[in-house]
């Protein structure tokens, strides 16, 4: 009895597992599942969990990733409004929004349907890019003036054009974001750009040289002007100081005016020792005091004065 019971339990568990495998399926988080009955989509589930189904070949489960998928188009040529050939590649984030619609437009397993959808998307991107780029000049795409640059606006225009087409034709997926991945020029044009850059460098070199020289001259001239100004100011100040000295000294003139003879004598006598210094040569005759003592009588001497 006991052995039978065990066998029955084991058997029942095995059958249960087998049945579960046949009759149930899981929907993983961020996954949408379409259940097709005899190849016809009959149910779609976007909530994760365990679900029942009829076994194959009655029902088949198709799984779709609801997450944002990455895609980028080929690096391809387009023309700007000012007739410049530009190469560009955009990257997009896209996701399936309605799996039941998606499966109708792109039938089969995801391994087949996703590339189909992406090639559809690539075509739309190409058309949108050609259209939008043709409306803009190169100066809208590269420009040092941020107000004139329309880089983001162009990205938005392309995104909106593709988005509108996706919604209009109801493909069951949408764009989440779009941006330029690469922007470039055709091979031969790069060489032309190099030539121009080279010329611009040449101009810059001569500008740097001449502006350096003139700047240096300006600095020197300005310094020299300032220096002579300083000295001129100092000389003026010195004159003023001298004048102040004169004015101060003039106060003594009134006093000296009491006896101009004495004042004049004192001034002379004060100057005399300064003149008769060590290096002076004195030539004297006997009329000069006190040598007059040798020749004249006291009466004559005193009379001469």
């Amino acid at each position: 009895m006991k052995k039978n019971l065990l066998t029955v339990i084991v058997g029942a568990v095995l059958i249960l597992i087998f049945v579960l495998l046949l009759f149930t399926f899981q929907v993983r988080k961020s996954e949408e599942v379409v259940v097709a009955t005899f190849m016809k989509p009959t149910r779609n589930i976007d909530q994760p969990g365990l679900y029942f189904k009829w076994p194959w070949p009655i029902q088949k489960v198709y799984r779709y990733d609801q997450r944002v998928q990455n895609f980028e188009d080929k690096y391809s040529e387009s023309y700007t409004a000012d007739n410049i050939t530009l190469l560009s590649s955009v990257y997009v984030g896209w996701k399936i929004t309605d799996a039941s619609t998606f499966i109708q437009k792109f039938p089969g397993d995801t391994a087949d349907s996703i590339p189909l959808a992406q090639s559809k998307l690539e075509g739309m991107l190409r058309t949108a890019k050609l259209g939008v780029m043709g409306k803009h000049a190169l100066s809208d795409i590269v420009n040092p003036d941020p107000r004139a640059l329309k880089f983001e606006a162009i990205e938005q225009e392309i995104e909106q054009a593709v988005q509108a087409e996706l919604q209009g034709k109801n493909y069951g997926f949408e764009l989440v974001f779009l941006g330029f991945k690469r922007i470039g020029l055709p091979d031969s044009v790069t060489q032309t750009v190099f030539d121009r850059m080279k010329n611009e460098r040449g101009v810059l070199i001569s500008q740097l040289q001449s502006s350096g020289d003139s700047e240096a001259l300006k600095i020197k001239a300005s310094a020299e002007r300032q220096a002579s100004e300083m000295i001129a100011n100092a000389t003026a100040t010195a004159r003023q100081i001298e004048g102040e000295g004169e004015a101060k000294a003039a106060e003594t003139y009134k006093l000296l005016d009491q006896n101009p003879d004495l004042a004049s004598f004192l001034l002379k006598i004060r100057t005399l020792p300064q003149l008769l210094n060590q290096h002076a040569t004195m030539i004297l005759d006997d009329r000069a005091a006190p040598f007059d003592l040798f020749t004249a009588s006291p009466a004559t001497n005193s009379a001469s004065h």
């Binding site: 990455n70 880089f151 330029f180 690469r182 000295g245 004598f265 006598i269 290096h279």
Partner: protein, 371 residues
């Protein structure tokens, strides 16, 4: 009672043997006993195996979450717990084995890096390390060479390495097939976008930090906008160079710019020296004037004082006063002046002719000049 129960139990376990022993003779009973022994022991093995399997089943449910990651358990595809509560932190955890539960691990606090090379010419890390890069051709082949176009329509090469961490693991894993791929494209886009704003000289020389910061900011903004669940740490490495085809002419600009700066620096030095000299000269001029003023005024005051003191004596006898004063001064002068020549008047009253050799030479030493 306990014996009966045991017996009863025994009967249940081997009812087949009991049934056969009732019919089959004694000899066969020994054989069936041996068979029953074998069966019993093999059942024991099966039981052990089953217990082991159950243990393995339970044991296989244990898993570790590292310090720099988080994990989410999906039970039948559905996260266990809501939102942030679904995140398991580091440590030992248990889940049912597949296919009931699935453990999704997400790297989080560890810094991750991505590199953008869409703006770089064709090279490999090995070539770059060994310095054996292929020589630059006359132009750039769009199929293999990358570059970015600056706002003033110059071509430059620029590449960047971005470090980031995951701050919203649920979003990072369950909203994007490859969030890191999306981030890589954002970095590419940020390089294009920032270069499109910048002038070539600013991007390469004058404002390289600003250029890097602008790329960083753009990436950060776009990653937030697209809700990738990441935080941009920084652009850890960024390099921008002129096209290799124009290296020499760009180098020449650098040399010229350095020369220009040197010329200007020289001029500034000259200006400083000049101004300093002028400043000290000016100071000397005013200083001298000030000193002269003080001296002049004080000499005049001294004269006035002397005048006031001498006036009474002068008034008494001007001639005598003059003689006395002059005598004093002359006496001092005679002592001081080295060359004194006395020329007596001729007896006939005619002028005396004196010829002097006036020399700039300093006077002879005292010993020979003074008798």
């Amino acid at each position: 009672m306990s014996h009966e129960h045991h017996h009863h139990d025994h009967d249940h376990g081997h009812d087949e043997r009991q049934a056969s022993s009732a019919v089959v003779p004694e000899v066969q009973d020994a054989g069936s006993q041996a068979l029953s022994e074998a069966l019993r022991s093999s059942f024991a093995v099966v039981k052990i195996v089953m217990v082991l399997m159950v243990l393995v089943f339970i044991g296989s449910g244990f898993f570790q979450v590292g310090p720099s990651e988080k994990a989410v358990i999906l039970r039948f595809g559905k996260p266990v717990g809501e939102g942030q509560k679904a995140l398991l932190t580091s440590g030992l955890h248990w889940s049912f084995p597949y296919p009931i539960d699935e453990v999704v691990k997400i790297p989080i606090s560890k810094q991750q890096t991505i590199t953008s090379t869409i703006g770089w010419y064709f090279t490999t890390p090995e070539q770059e390390l060994s310095g054996e890069e292929l020589p630059a051709g006359p132009s750039l082949n769009p199929a293999i060479d990358g570059y970015v176009i600056t706002g003033d329509r110059n071509i430059i090469h620029s590449r960047a390495i971005l470090t980031y961490t995951v701050n919203d693991p649920v979003r990072y894993v369950f909203d994007f097939v490859s969030a890191s791929n999306a981030l890589q494209n954002i970095l590419n886009n940020a390089l294009l976008y920032t270069a499109a704003h910048y002038k070539v000289d600013d991007a390469l020389f004058n404002d390289t930090t600003g250029f890097r910061k602008a790329v960083e900011q753009r990436v950060s903004e776009m990653a937030d906008e697209e809700k990738l669940g990441i935080v941009v740490e920084q652009i850890s490495d960024m390099r921008s160079i002129p096209p290799r085809q124009l290296k020499s002419v760009f180098d020449q600009v650098i040399t010229t710019r350095e020369n220009r700066n040197r010329v200007i620096d020289d001029a500034k030095n000259y200006a400083n020296t000049n101004l300093n000299a002028a400043s000290s000269t000016a100071f000397a001029i005013t200083n001298q004037a000030e000193a002269a003023r003080v001296e002049y005024v004080s000499s005049m005051i001294a004269l006035a004082t002397n005048f006031s003191a001498q006036l009474p004596y002068y008034k008494l006898n001007p001639t005598f006063f003059r003689q006395q004063q002059l005598g004093d001064v002359m006496a001092k002068a005679f002592a001081n002046v080295q060359r004194k020549i006395f020329v007596p008047q001729r007896a006939d009253g005619k002028p005396t002719e004196v010829r002097l050799l006036i020399s700039d030479q300093p006077p002879q030493p005292k010993t020979s000049a003074n008798p």
